[in-house]
């Protein structure tokens, strides 16, 4: 067992929190703690925080907007500022942008439809904590399931993200109308990643593929230096 210590946050309406916890347990080992949105404090000595997919607060107002203002998110913002690694998947990505931890916003899909299918992704940055286990330019397949996944930021922000290597993943085909096909974005300091595709749904062959596994392996290697 590694000394890895992770937390998965559950909001009312989260529905991928258990999958996320299982993926972290199976790939990273260590301890995975479940944290409720109404908690004001996170467990101590966390290496990693995951915000799961789902429909927090019924997507009221805007997807992720209410969750971003919940008590636990103040603690998550503070932890991210201290350098704790934070992954937001799908609704978790929406929460991270609404909380201001990542730039841009996630808007209604260009086709207006809920998109639920496995899509090709290009790993754009393989130097980050989350993606070091992938090869440069590697094409992977990961499922998406969202209605508000069109990434938007103004042109200057997009240029900056691309120039600073903060685009982690790009869609390999038209999926949702995201600006410059961006599927995943890193924070300035590199310790926060938001992505619409679900790596936790691709960690073993029984899932139809295991391309998401390298993300969790990258994180645990980067944070505790252990091979898994």
């Amino acid at each position: 067992m590694s000394g890895f210590r992770a937390a998965v946050i559950t909001f009312p309406g989260s529905n991928c929190d258990r999958d996320m916890a299982v993926a972290i347990e199976q790939v990273c080992g260590g301890e995975v703690l479940r944290v409720w949105h109404g908690d004001a404090e996170l467990p101590e000595r966390l290496d990693f925080i995951a915000l799961p997919g789902g429909f927090s607060y019924g997507d009221y107002l805007r997807s992720g907007a209410m969750a971003a203002r919940s008590p636990i998110m103040r603690a998550v913002v503070a932890a991210a500022a201290r350098g704790v690694s934070v992954l937001g998947v799908c609704n978790g990505f929406q929460v991270l942008t609404e909380a201001g931890l990542l730039p841009g916003a996630l808007m209604r899909n260009a086709g207006l439809r809920f998109v639920c299918r496995t899509v090709p992704l290009e790993v754009v940055n393989t130097q980050s904590l989350f993606t070091a286990g992938y090869r440069a330019g590697q094409r992977i397949t990961i499922p998406v399931a969202h209605q508000d996944g069109a990434y938007y930021a103004d042109a200057a922000t997009l240029d900056r993200l691309e120039g600073e290597g903060r685009v982690a993943f790009r869609y390999g085909e038209a999926v949702n109308g995201s600006a410059r096909d961006i599927a995943g974005v890193l924070s300035d300091a590199g310790n926060v990643l938001g992505m619409m595709p679900h790596p936790e749904r691709m960690i073993e062959p029984a899932h139809g593929g295991s391309d998401g596994r390298a993300m969790f392996e990258s994180v645990v290697r980067g944070l505790v230096g252990e091979s898994v």
């Binding site: 841009g104 209604r108 938007y152």
Partner: protein, 79 residues
């Protein structure tokens, strides 16, 4: 004594609005001619105490009602 406040939230110019476009197409499909653009927004109607300042309303809009990355807002005090 409370006052009625309306906060109008709309997409910033240049931000694509696929919902607005779909509504525009539906309007044309109903046979209404001459509608060249539709942008969908949100309207919040609130009852607030007389002591709530414009600055506080502004903060509410910025922190929650609008996402300043993609939206603008306008606050209207209804007489």
């Amino acid at each position: 004594m409370t006052h009625k406040i309306r906060v109008h939230v709309s997409l910033k110019p240049g931000v694509l609005d696929p919902q607005g476009r779909a509504i525009q197409h539906a309007i044309a499909g109903l046979g209404f001619a001459g509608v060249s653009d539709v942008r969908a927004g949100r309207l919040f109607e609130m009852e607030v105490d007389a002591g709530v300042t414009d600055a506080a309303l502004d903060d509410m809009a910025r922190q929650l009602l609008a996402n300043m990355v993609i939206e603008n807002y306008r606050i209207e005090r209804v007489q």
